[in-house]
Symmetry: C2
Subunit: 120 residues, 2 copies
DNA sequence: TGCCGACGATTACACGCGTAAACGACGCTG
DNA sequence: CAGCGTCGTTTACGCGTGTAATCGTCGGCA
């Protein structure tokens, strides 16, 4: 079940709120994307075909909800990247961002807490 | 300069050792990929077209070397993912792996050291 | 009750990618 | 000096994707 880039944008909408009618999805996306209504419908249909979302009849229309969990999607995407670029290990990735000064104060504080928690 | 998945495999070979003749690349990949020689040649050519690698004539053949730095590629790929999935922040990503128990002892130790270094 | 508008479904189409075979030139070997 | 093998170059092709337009149907309003 491979979700494309554009499809994942639609998934995001549904992960945030569901179930939603196609129209609602279009409305939400109107703010962030340039997409025509037809485009969103195509994406919804492809997601349906892939089994990533489900549709339940609501009168004349459908209400869509995610089947694929956001967690699972995030996990698979990030694991793939980690494997491809950092030999599957987290520390090198963090180090990479360290060296590029991409860690905010907040990141550092949170990382510190995470590590402390892990040690107990 | 967008590098596809398959192309990045070829890049990897060149990042590890360069310059290399097409044949050498094929030889290295023979161990890990199922690819025909022709496929590797296509990928080298596409990379040339994209400017991600350069070719220098060596008698009758070419020697290829990366132009795009591995560091830059890794940075752009991982930033893209981070932005898409974790709102651009590193800590949530690490937390994600924490919760999924994907951190090795070694990861934890290294992260700890990274954090300590950052605080000084 | 007939037409219009709203939905979902179907169809379209160009482009990049994975995967490769075919082609063409050139130098070495017999 | 004529083939043959070896490179790089060109061409191929099906599939997924981004991006839509068009079609067909059904319910509500005039």
């Amino acid at each position: 079940m491979q979700i494309s880039e554009a499809e994942s944008v639609v998934m995001n909408v549904l992960w945030n709120r569901h179930p939603l009618a196609a129209d609602d999805v279009v409305a939400v996306l109107a703010g962030e994307q340039h997409w025509q209504e037809a485009t969103v419908k195509t994406l919804l249909n492809r997601l349906l075909g892939k089994g990533a979302i489900a549709a339940e009849k609501d009168g004349r229309r459908y209400l869509y909800r995610p089947v694929l969990a956001r967690e699972d999607y995030v996990a698979s995407e990030s694991t793939t990247l980690l494997d491809r670029l950092f030999d599957g290990r987290v520390a090198p990735l963090v180090q990479h961002f360290c060296e590029r000064r991409k860690l905010s104060k907040r990141d550092i504080a949170e990382l510190k807490r995470l590590i402390e928690d892990l040690e107990r």
